[in-house]
Symmetry: C2
């Protein structure tokens, strides 16, 4: 059992991978590389993004129009002020206000199978059920087409939308995008077909007992049916039960309500540009969240990254030519009013938004960048890859956008977004699992560092 | 609050990113793309790797020479047989056997600060303390150089190696590689300096109360001192306490022992090549683990991926020209005997190992590939990136290797390894946190799919 130290060394030598070599660097490139390294060191030593996220999530959920959202506005305003950012501002936006209420209950009632509880939650924007709840037989469908083809079978039924997120999609956002219409439009389609309520399979890959909420809307042409999400395990149970007893009924009751709109705020602060202060590079995320969980990944993570990106640059004494502005948008989840009001606010007059970079895909390790604005812009950003690759950004591809910064696109702003590795994202998304503990300090920080480095490059070099 | 369905649609449109376009495909490329897509679909629908890992981790820890390791050998042999793999074999390897024993306790004893418990665990291979434990004053050092320069100060002391993993390294394996000598060689260095024991800061980034174990070795020239890892929080506490009371002492007691070696086994099974069955492409991982936790990421994940890669190919009826062999190596952690014995076994005669692909960096989403064999081989593998990029492999770079497949390099085998996104890896590594719940089914499966696709390409096309 005696081993020489040399042998031991050999055994535990960790081969360091040589990442792709990039073309030899100019002086400016060396400066940017040094900048990127400095920011990275400071970021990963201090992990301040997690600190911000910890304080933000302590508030609890931040649904637009809620006391939590108001507290978050104040906390972030104070944070920006404390960090010494310039022009810290609250810009008003009128947001819809929906409350979940106290009651959410559901059960499957079958003469053969007995009565079984189902785990549900009301969807955001839904009306409540009547006081006695809804009880009806169930029509299970996998698509709107199937529902439309079902003729009279939908009449008087609870329409159960049970198409899972396609697990064969490697890109989890793609799977989400392909399934989300059931949640957003299911109640409207159910109403058209003569149904009495909509029950929608929660949008996540896993087997889970927890329901995932999210926005839905009504059509002006049809009645407003109560709509709820059912957990994936509940959906599987209901589907199996329908096979053995097609006559079973489901009862559910919710007490949610749409209240009158209130004024809330986008929160912004900046590092003013030294040469072209009216040209803006925007770093964006949204401050509101769903009312389950703490909105840690969605999108507390993005907010913490915006704050941390600006802190890292400011504390390094870096001031680019153009203005770098962080904007924490209100009400991405419940209408997107913050993004729209920001784009058309009077204070935008005289400003030109060169580029906007959003982080709203979870606080996981960044792996890629989606870049809008066409091929020339993509090539330009790709030329910066040597500074971004060491941070994990191993691809840069056309794409980019996001609910909050989207409205800027009409005025020619180049939209970009950070794409993290996101296999775990929909486990937490819009559910009670979206809490601080699901976020990793280093993964979160890497996104902030990418935002700082790319934000500085954009504000210094333009697109 | 009424919104038209069209508006709602706009709000919830998830922009799909267009990943990099690759050059237009030949017929063979179209076939490989179809193969990759088929394997991906099957893998992500069935998530069988997680099933294998669930059964493997149920055994408990699998330290080389332990009953758990023996049970794992049998389970994997049975699994390979049940999946219909050919030439399922156990190849013997004689492994050292170390047991932790029942007692692990430590405390800081200070006349000023009182007595405080410390969280420790013996390092693998360490001798036990004397029955009464070790109690001595403490010399804290950050490097061997500092220890060597300390002169007489080390004499009679417990040497406390407290250099943290450098948090500013984005690559967590690099940070580990730069700090691990404290664990592997600390006891030998402490002995040279006249110390009485070695206490080593656990190798992880976070603040944790849990100690992380791992292999250490002795020098033939010095006495064998007891060595233990102390949790990072314990290390911080001890370091702070030493500042206010340099005279404090630490007591610790362990009851670990090195027992006589026993015979264990590498487990292998294959899909025989149709044209060159003696040319082998090896898919490897290690079956043993540390005795804390369940060895889920390290390296149950790799074993599950090897099994699943072969299952996916076999169930698709795919048989490449060369033989694809899965090898689950015994004793990576406690000496690397399995890898060495495999390379020099008689059954290797007449075989030529073309390439060996290892997975031993945790069961997280794969992001890159380290490829040995020089530039030509790297270029060849890069040409396959269109089939791998959709699985998350966004970079291919020189590198590759691993303890198990390393011994094959002398016979010209091209070594490769899968590199996952691994910010969370060292949170769990070698600790009680390395359990099934820390592994995500889809992340794990993606590694298996990469292994299947790349393994097939290597076995069909060669390098």
């Amino acid at each position: 059992m005696r081993r020489s130290p040399l042998l031991i060394w050999r055994l535990f030598f960790i081969p360091l991978l040589f990442w792709p070599a990039f073309a030899s660097a100019s002086a400016a490139e060396r400066d940017y590389r040094a900048l990127s390294e400095e920011i990275t060191k400071k970021g990963l030593t201090q992990n301040y993004a997690y600190n911000v996220l910890g304080r933000l999530t302590q508030i609890g959920p931040r649904l637009a129009g809620s006391p939590g959202a108001a507290a978050a506005v104040e906390l972030m305003r104070q944070e920006m002020t404390d960090l010494g950012l310039d022009n810290v501002r609250l810009e008003p936006t009128i947001v819809g206000r929906w409350v979940r209420g106290e009651i959410e209950e559901a059960r499957l009632i079958s003469s053969r199978l007995g009565t079984l509880p189902l785990s549900i939650c009301a969807l955001g924007g839904s009306v409540a059920t009547p006081e006695g709840g809804v009880r009806a037989q169930v029509l299970e469908v996998k698509s709107f087409r199937e529902l439309r083809a079902s003729g009279d079978k939908a009449k008087g039924r609870i329409i159960f939308f049970n198409r899972p997120m396609d697990p064969t999609r490697v890109n989890s956002f793609q799977a989400y995008g392909e399934a989300v219409e059931q949640r957003t439009l299911g109640a409207a389609e159910a109403a058209k077909a003569g149904g009495v309520a909509a029950l929608v399979r929660s949008l996540n890959f896993g087997e889970s007992d927890l329901p995932h909420t999210g926005m839905m809307g009504y059509s002006p042409e049809t009645v407003r049916l109560p709509a709820a999400a059912i957990s994936t395990r509940g959906a599987d149970l209901l589907s199996r039960s329908l096979q053995s007893d097609p006559e079973l009924s489901v009862y559910f009751k919710t007490s949610c309500a749409n209240l009158s709109p209130v004024t809330s705020f986008n929160v912004s602060g900046e590092i003013p540009g030294t040469e072209a202060p009216d040209e803006i590079v925007l770093l964006g995320a949204h401050l509101d969240s769903w009312d389950l969980g703490q909105g840690a990944h969605d999108d507390g993570a993005g907010c913490a990254q915006v704050i941390e990106a600006l802190r890292l640059l400011r504390s390094a004494g870096l001031r680019p030519k153009r203005t770098l502005r962080g904007v924490l948008f209100m009400d991405e989840e419940f209408g997107g009013t913050g993004g729209r009001d920001y784009a058309r606010a009077e204070s935008r007059q005289g400003e030109r938004h060169v580029a906007a970079l959003e982080s709203d895909r979870g606080g996981f390790s960044p792996v890629g960048l989606g870049v809008g604005g066409g091929e020339t812009v993509v090539s330009r950003v790709k030329a910066w890859q040597p500074f971004l690759f060491p941070l994990g950004i191993s691809w840069i591809a056309p794409g980019g956008g996001g609910v909050d910064i989207g409205p800027l696109s009409t005025s020619g702003t180049v939209l970009m977004e950070i794409v993290p590795e996101a296999q775990r994202y929909f486990d937490a998304h819009h559910s009670s699992q979206d809490v601080l503990a699901a976020v990793h300090p280093r993964e979160l920080e890497l996104g902030a560092i990418v935002m700082a480095v790319l934000g500085f490059l954009l504000a210094e070099e333009g697109v």
